[in-house]
C-alpha cells in the first residue's frame, strides 16, 4: 500500500449544482455545471455524469465554452486561475494564472485571445469587469496578468452582466440602474429607474439582464416581477422600454433563445415562462418545476433549455417546453430535522430533502437516488405559511421498516402530530405506507428507535415524547381475518415521575431499553417492560444516549446539556467514568466499538473518537469545522480500508460523515472522495457515434458475447469479427491527418488484409515481418504469445470477451503502426 497521508476533512459531494448557469456543449450532447471545486459534465440524454473536471483548488465560479473551439471549455475559480479543458476526454489543457479571486467568466467570439472576468480589488462589495488577455504559449501554466478594465461598480453575480450584438456592448445592472458600455465608441450609457423613495417603485431593483442575440435589445428582470425590454439605448435621450409582467415575485433569471424570437424567464413561482416575440399576450408556460428557478440557459444549437433550481437540481427542457432530464444533487434548502441516516439496503444517506420528502442520496455517485414523499400533500410555496415538517425518521429491521414523524404547530396549543410506518416492498422496490398513527403522543416526539437485534422476530419501535411517556409499538396481525395484513399497535406505555422523556435507545442485543427522562436515565427490560434500574448524575438534561457495541456492550453513554459525558457500567450499575465535554453529536460506529463525539467550543468543533471501555480517546481532531456541526453518521465501507496507523484505525470499517449548520456535507479522508467517484458511464465515451446509454452498453456487450459464441461453434480456430468502432487502431488510422497518410490505393490492400487477420493469423503475421525487418522480434513473439493466451482465455471463459476484444485490437493497433512506418519510408523514397 502507498504511504498513508494524513487524514483531513474534505467536502464530499453534495455541492451546489445551481451555483452558476449550466452550459451546453455546441452539439447539445453534454451539459456542464459547476459543482464545488469541480466542473461536472453530464450527458443531456441520459443525465449520467460522464466526466468530472478537477483541478481547481477553490469554488469554480464560471464556465464557458471556448468560442473558437467548441470542444474546449474555460472555467474560472476563486483560486485565481482560468483553466482550459478538453471536456471530451476530461483533460486539463492549460492553466492561466490571474492571481485574483475570479467571480465570473465571460467569453466572446470577437475577442479571440481574451476572456472577461469579474474581480474585486479594493473594497469588499465593489466589483469590476475586466478583460484578461490570455497569452499564447505552449506551456501548461501561463501567467495572465494583462488586465484591462471595462466596467466598475457592478454586481458580482454573472446574471447581472450580459454581452450583446456579438460583443459590441456589455450591459450591467446593479440596484436601480442599467449601464451599457459600447466597446467601439468606448462610452457608457446609464439608465436609472426611480428608486425606493417612492413606494410604488420600491421594488424596482434590477435582478438580472440578458441581451438579444440579433437585435439591439436588452431585457432586464426586476424585483417586483417585471421584465423590461430596453431599446434605443445607444441614445441617452431617445431610449425606450417595454414592460412584460407576469411574475409576482422577483425575476431570478432571463435568457433569450438562440434566434431571439422568444425570451425565457423564471422565478420563485417555479414556472418557466416563454415570451414569444416579446409580447405580453403571447406566452407559454412550463409549470410545476418543483423549486425556485435560479438560472436559465439555452443550448447553442437552440434545441434545449435548462433551468437550475434552488433544490440543487438541473432540468433539461426541450424546445417545445417538455422536461426531458433531471440532474439532481443533494437537496439542501430545507432544515434538516431527521439527521443523517444510512439506509441499510442501499447504503444511501437519508435525510430531509424537498419539503415533505425524505431523500436518498448516494454518497458514491454524488447523486440523489430518489425522493420518498412522506407528507403526501401539495406543497404551497408562500411566505408565512406554516408547513407540515418531517421531524423524525428511523430505519429498522435491516431496512424493512421506516418510521417517520411529522408535525405542524400553528399555535402553542395546537400541535398536529402524525407517525407513519412504511414497509419495504420487494416487488416495487420501495417503501409502502403500512400504518398511520394520528397523535401518537400528546406532545412533541423527542426520539424514535427500532430494536435491531436479531433475536427479536417481532419488530419493535419505541417513541419518547415530551408528554412524559415513552411508548412501545409492536407489529401485530391486523384485524384481517386471514391474518395476512400486519399493522403496528401500541404495546406498552412507560413513564417516570412525569418527567419529559428526552431520548431512547436499545442495547445492541435488544434486551435492554434505555430511556432518559430529563436528568435521569432509566433502564427497562425489553421482555417484560420492567424498570431495571436508574442512573442519575444530576448533571443536566440528557441530550444524547447510546449503548456501547460489541465488546463494550456493557457500557451506556450519556451526554448532558451541561457538557458532561458519562459512561455507566450496566453490570455494576455504577458510573464508570465521566468527562467534561460539550457534546453536540454522538454517534456509535455500527461495525466497531468506536464512538464519535463532536464537541462545540468557541473557536469551532472538535472530534473525539473513543471506546467506552477506556476514557482516553483514540483519536482527536481539533477544529474540524468553524461552524457548528449538527449531525453526523458512520457509513459502513464496502471495502475496508487498511490504515495501519493506530490513530486512523477507526476509519477502517466505516467512514464518518457530518453536516454543518450551513449544510455542507464533510467527511474524513486521506484523499478527496470525489476523486474516487467512478462515473459508471466513463467507458461509454468510446463509442462516440452511438447514443451512449447504459442500456445500450449492457445489450451491446451481450450481443458481442453471443457473436463470439456463434463463432466458436462454427470454427475451432480463433475468429473475431472486428467491430470497427471498437478497434482503437482503426480509429487511430481514421483520426490521423490526411496529409501524412499515403495514398489510399497504397494503404488499401494492407488495410484489408489487416481486417482479414483473424482468419489467417499466420499469414497476417508474416506480411509485416517481410516489410519491416527492423521491428523487434520480441514484440512479434509477444504478440503471438498474446494470441495464444487469448485462445486459452476464450475457450476457458466466455465472460472475459470484453477483455479479449480489447487485447486483440491492441495487436491490430501494432499492425497499423507498422503500416505507418512503411508509409513514412515510402515518402522518403520519393
Amino acid at each position: 500500500m502507498v504511504e498513508e497521508e494524513s487524514v483531513r476533512v474534505v467536502r464530499c459531494g453534495g455541492s451546489e449544482l445551481n451555483f452558476r448557469r449550466a452550459v451546453f456543449s455546441a452539439d447539445s450532447k453534454y451539459i456542464f455545471c459547476v459543482s464545488g471545486d469541480f466542473v461536472k459534465v453530464h450527458s443531456t440524454a441520459t443525465e449520467e455524469c460522464v466526466h468530472i473536471l478537477q483541478g481547481h483548488r477553490n469554488l469554480v465560479t464560471g464556465i464557458q465554452l471556448n468560442p473558437n473551439n467548441h470542444l474546449q471549455l474555460y472555467s474560472c475559480s476563486f483560486d485565481g486561475t482560468v483553466k482550459l479543458w478538453d471536456y471530451v476526454d476530461g483533460i486539463l489543457i492549460k492553466t492561466f494564472v490571474v492571481g485574483l479571486k475570479l467571480h465570473a467568466l465571460f467569453t466572446l467570439p470577437s475577442a479571440e485571445d481574451s476572456v472577461f472576468v469579474i474581480i474585486n480589488k479594493e473594497k469588499p462589495d465593489v466589483f469590476q469587469l475586466v478583460s484578461v488577455k490570455l497569452p499564447k504559449s505552449s506551456s501548461q501554466e501561463i501567467e495572465a496578468k494583462e488586465l484591462s478594465f471595462v466596467l466598475d461598480y457592478i454586481n458580482q453575480s454573472p446574471k447581472c452582466i450580459a454581452f450583446g450584438n456579438e460583443g459590441e456592448y456589455v450591459a450591467a445592472v446593479r440596484d436601480f440602474y442599467l449601464s451599457v458600455y459600447f466597446f467601439k465608441k468606448k462610452t457608457t450609457s446609464r439608465f436609472t429607474l426611480s428608486s425606493s423613495r417612492n413606494k410604488k417603485h420600491a421594488k424596482n431593483n434590477f435582478t438580472c439582464v440578458a441581451c438579444h442575440p440579433k437585435e439591439d435589445c436588452i431585457a432586464t428582470g426586476h424585483k417586483d416581477g417585471k421584465i423590461r425590454l430596453w431599446r434605443n439605448f445607444d441614445d441617452d435621450k431617445k431610449y425606450t422600454y417595454t414592460c412584460l409582467h407576469w411574475h409576482h415575485d422577483m425575476v431570478m433569471d432571463l435568457a433569450f433563445s438562440v434566434t431571439g424570437t422568444s425570451l425565457l424567464s423564471g422565478g420563485r413561482e417555479s414556472v418557466l415562462v416563454e415570451w414569444r416575440d416579446a409580447t405580453e399576450k403571447n406566452k407559454e408556460f412550463l409549470p410545476r418545476l418543483g423549486a425556485t428557478i435560479e438560472h436559465i440557459s439555452v443550448s447553442p444549437a437552440g434545441d434545449l433549455f435548462c433551468t437550475s433550481h434552488s433544490d440543487n437540481k438541473i432540468i433539461v427542457i426541450h424546445r417545445n417546453l417538455e422536461a426531458s432530464a433531471v440532474i439532481q444533487g443533494l437537496v439542501k434548502d430545507s432544515n434538516i430535522f431527521t439527521g443523517l441516516m444510512v439506509d441499510p439496503r442501499t447504503k444511501a444517506l437519508v435525510l430531509n430533502g424537498k419539503p415533505g420528502h425524505l431523500q436518498f442520496y448516494s454518497l458514491q455517485h454524488d447523486k440523489q437516488l430518489y425522493n420518498l414523499d412522506i407528507i403526501q400533500q401539495e406543497y404551497i410555496n408562500d411566505y408565512g405559511l406554516i408547513q407540515i415538517e418531517l421531524t423524525k425518521a428511523a430505519f429498522g429491521c435491516y431496512g424493512n421498516w421506516l418510521a417517520t414523524v411529522e408535525q405542524r404547530q400553528e399555535k402553542e396549543t395546537e400541535l398536529e402530530l402524525q407517525m407513519k410506518l412504511w414497509m419495504y416492498n420487494k416487488k416495487t422496490q420501495g417503501f409502502v405506507l403500512n400504518t398511520k398513527v394520528n397523535m401518537p403522543h400528546e406532545d412533541h416526539i423527542t426520539a424514535l428507535c427500532f430494536c435491531n437485534a436479531e433475536k427479536f422476530e417481532n419488530p419493535t419501535l419505541v417513541t419518547s415524547s415530551k408528554d412524559g411517556h415513552f411508548k412501545v409499538w409492536i407489529l401485530t396481525d391486523d384485524s384481517d381475518i386471514y391474518k395476512k395484513a400486519v399493522g403496528w399497535t401500541c404495546d406498552f406505555v412507560g413513564s417516570y415521575h412525569k418527567y419529559q422523556a428526552t431520548n431512547c435507545c436499545f442495547s445492541e442485543d435488544g434486551s435492554l431499553l434505555a430511556v432518559s427522562f430529563e436528568e435521569i436515565v432509566t433502564i427497562w427490560d425489553s421482555e417484560t417492560w420492567e424498570l431495571k434500574c436508574t442512573f442519575c448524575q444530576r448533571a443536566g438534561k440528557i441530550r444524547h444516549l447510546c449503548f456501547g457495541r460489541l465488546t463494550c456492550s456493557k457500557y451506556l453513554l450519556g451526554a448532558t446539556e451541561n457538557g458532561i459525558l458519562c459512561c455507566w457500567n450496566l453490570l455494576s450499575c455504577a458510573l464508570e467514568w465521566s468527562a467534561k465535554l460539550n457534546v453536540r453529536v454522538m454517534e456509535p460506529d455500527p461495525n466497531s466499538e468506536n464512538i464519535a463525539a463532536i464537541s462545540r467550543s468557541s473557536v469551532g468543533s472538535d472530534l473525539f473518537v473513543f471506546k467506552p471501555s477506556e476514557p482516553r480517546p483514540l483519536y482527536i481532531q481539533k477544529n474540524i469545522s468553524r461552524e457548528e456541526v449538527q449531525w453526523g453518521v458512520f457509513v459502513p465501507r464496502d471495502v475496508p480500508e487498511s490504515f495501519t496507523s493506530e490513530a486512523y484505525q477507526w476509519l477502517n470499517r466505516s467512514q464518518f460523515y457530518f453536516l454543518t449548520k450551513s449544510q455542507s456535507l464533510l467527511t474524513f479522508s486521506t484523499k478527496s472522495p470525489e476523486e474516487k467517484l467512478t462515473p459508471t458511464s466513463k467507458q461509454l465515451l468510446a463509442e462516440e457515434s452511438l447514443p451512449t446509454t447504459p442500456f445500450y452498453f449492457i445489450l451491446g456487450k451481450h450481443r458481442e458475447q453471443q457473436d463470439e459464441k456463434i463463432n466458436e461453434a462454427f470454427e475451432s480456430e480463433l475468429v473475431q469479427l472486428p467491430l470497427t468502432e471498437n478497434i482503437p487502431a482503426i480509429s487511430e488510422l481514421l483520426h490521423t491527418p490526411a496529409h501524412v497518410l499515403p495514398s489510399a490505393s497504397f494503404l488499401c490492400s494492407k488495410f484489408v488484409s489487416s481486417l482479414l487477420l483473424s482468419k489467417e493469423t499466420k499469414s497476417g503475421e508474416e506480411i509485416p515481418e517481410d516489410v519491416d525487418m527492423e521491428e523487434g522480434k520480441e514484440s512479434d513473439d509477444s504478440d503471438e504469445e498474446n494470441d495464444f493466451t487469448e485462445k486459452i482465455q476464450d475457450t476457458n471463459n466466455t465472460d472475459l470477451g470484453e477483455d479479449l476484444l480489447h487485447q486483440l485490437s491492441k495487436s491490430e493497433e501494432k499492425e497499423l503502426r507498422k503500416f505507418r512506418k512503411v508509409d513514412y519510408s515510402w515518402i522518403t523514397v520519393l
Binding site: 437585435e215 434605443n232 435621450k237 431610449y239 425606450t240 417595454t242 399576450k281
Partner: protein, 588 residues
Amino acid sequence: MDAFGGPIWSMAVSPCGSQLLVGCEDGSVKLFQITPDKIQFERNFDRQKSRILSLSWHPSGTHIAAGSIDYISVFDVKSGSAVHKMLVDRQYMGVSKRKCIIWGVAFLSDGTVISVDSAGKVQFWDSATGTLVKNHLIANADVQSIAVSDQEDSFVVGTAEGTVFHFQLVSVTSNSSEKQWVRTKPFQHHTHDVRAVAHSPTALISGGTDTHLVIRPLMEKVEVKNYDAALRKITFPHRRLISCSKKRHLLLFQFAHHLELWRLGSTVATGKNGDTLPLSKDADHLLHLKTKGPENIICSCISPCGSWIAYSTTSRFFLYRLNYEHDNISLQRVSKMPAFLRSALQILFSEDSTKLFVASNQGSLHIIRLLEGSFKHLHTLQPQSVESMCLLAVSPDGNWLAASGTSAGVHVYNIKHLKLHCTVPAYNFPVTALAIAPNTNNLVIAHSDQQVFEYSIPDKQYTEWSRTIQKQGFHYLWLQRDTPITHISFHPKRPMHILLHDAYMFCIIDKSLPLPNDKTLLYNPLPPTNESDVIRRRTAHAFKISKIYKPLLFMDLLDERTLVAVERPLDDIIAQLPPPIKKKKFGT
C-alpha cells in the same frame, strides 16, 4: 348638407386640405371638394359591404385606407376602385368572435397601413401587396383609437381597458438602417374606454368615457425637465359653467343638454368657524330646462335679478323670462329672436339686468336692451380682429364692457358711447377670466400661465400694484398650479380684495399686504390662533389661499357676508359612468 349614405361614421381631410372623405353606414366612401364657400360632392368610391368606420389618407394623397367590419380596403383615389381588400382575423384569444370591427386605420408614407380592431390587435399591413406584416395583440378588449406622429416614427393607440400604448419605430441594431415597430410603454391613466388619442410632437393626448383629458409628455422630446414636462390630467372644462343671481340667491347650472336652476337654502343658526350649520330651508330645484335637438349647450347665463335666462347651442339662441309669484315660477320663452343671434360663445347680463351682451361666434358683440317680456337690439360692436370673443366682463356701474378672444388682447368698450375705449396689450397666453372691479373700474385679467394683471380702465394703463407684482414675479408654487383661474369677483366693501378661484383652490388677494417671495410659504399655513401679532404680520402676505373645496367649479360672493361655492365631486361623475371593463387583478 346630406351625404345620402346614412349615418356618417368617419371623415378625413386630404393632406392638401382640399378634399374631404366621408365614410357612411351603407358602406360608401364619398369624396367631397372643399372650396372656400362650400363643400361640393365629387364622387363615390367602390361601395363596400358594411359601414366604413375609419378612413386614412396616404400622405401623398393618392391612396386611402378604409376600415370596415372584418376587412380593410385600400382605394386608389384617381380611379376610385379598391386596390386591395385585407381581411382581418376574427379570432380573439382562440375564440371566434362574431365580428372584428376596424376602429381605426393609419396610412403611413412608406405604404404601411396600421389598423386597430375590436379583437385587441394592432396590425401592420403592406398596402402594396395587401399582406399582413406584423400583429401585436395588446388588449383583451377593443382597441378604439390610433394617432400617428408627424414624423411617422411613433404612434399611440387607446384601448377599451383604459390603457394607452405607445409604439415606436426603433432601429434593429445600432449600425443597421433596418427599423421595426416596437410596442414600448403602456400608460394606464384612464379607467374607461379611451375613445380618442392624439400625438403632438412632444406629448401623447388621450381622452375617453371617464371624462378625463390626459396629456402625457414624451420625456425624450422635452428639452428641459421643468414643470411643463409633467403629466396633466384635465377633468373639467376651463370655463365657467355656473352663473348666479345674487339678488334671488339662484344658481344656474349648465349641463351638456339641459340647464338646472336651484334656489339656495338658508339657515338661521350661527356657529363657530368650521361648523356645519343645519339648514332651516332646503335648497329648491326650481327648473329643469332641456334643449331641443341633439346640440350641446355652449354657454348660459342668468341675470343678476334672476328674471332672465339665456343660453345658446351651436346653432340657436334662447332667451327666457322667469316670473316669480310666491313659490310658483313660470317660464316664458321670448320668441322671435333676431336672425343675427344664432350662436353665442358667451352671454352676459349687466348688473342691473337691463342689458344683455352676446358674443357671437361670428366675432361681433351684440348689445340688447331687455324690457318686460321683450327686447330691443341696441347695437352691434364689430371688433377689428377676426377672432371671436369668448370672455366678457361688464363693470358694475354699467359703463364698461371688456371682451377678450383667445390670443389678441382685451378690448374695453364704452357702453354709453358704444365705441372702443381702449385695448389692453396682447399677451402670449390666452385669458381665462376677466372682471371689472366696482368703483375703481380696474380690470383684472387672469391668463392661462397663471399671471394676473390689473388694468385701470379710466387711466388706460396697468395699475401700480400690477406693475409691482410683475416686477417681483409670482410665487413659484402659484405659477405651478394645474388649472386656470375661471372666475374673478370683488368684495363690494373691501376694494383692496380680489377673489379668484380655480378648480382646486380659492384665493383672496389682499393688495394692501406685501407680496410673497419664493422663500415664504404660499399656501397659508398659519391658522388664526393665538399667534402674536408680530409673527402674523411678518408671515402674512397678499395671497390668502383656501383648499377646502375641491374640485371647485364656482365660487362667488352672494352678499357681503355670504360666499357660495359649488363643488363637483369626481365620485359622482364616475358613479354615473358605465362600468369599466372588468380586469382580474392579481392577488384579489
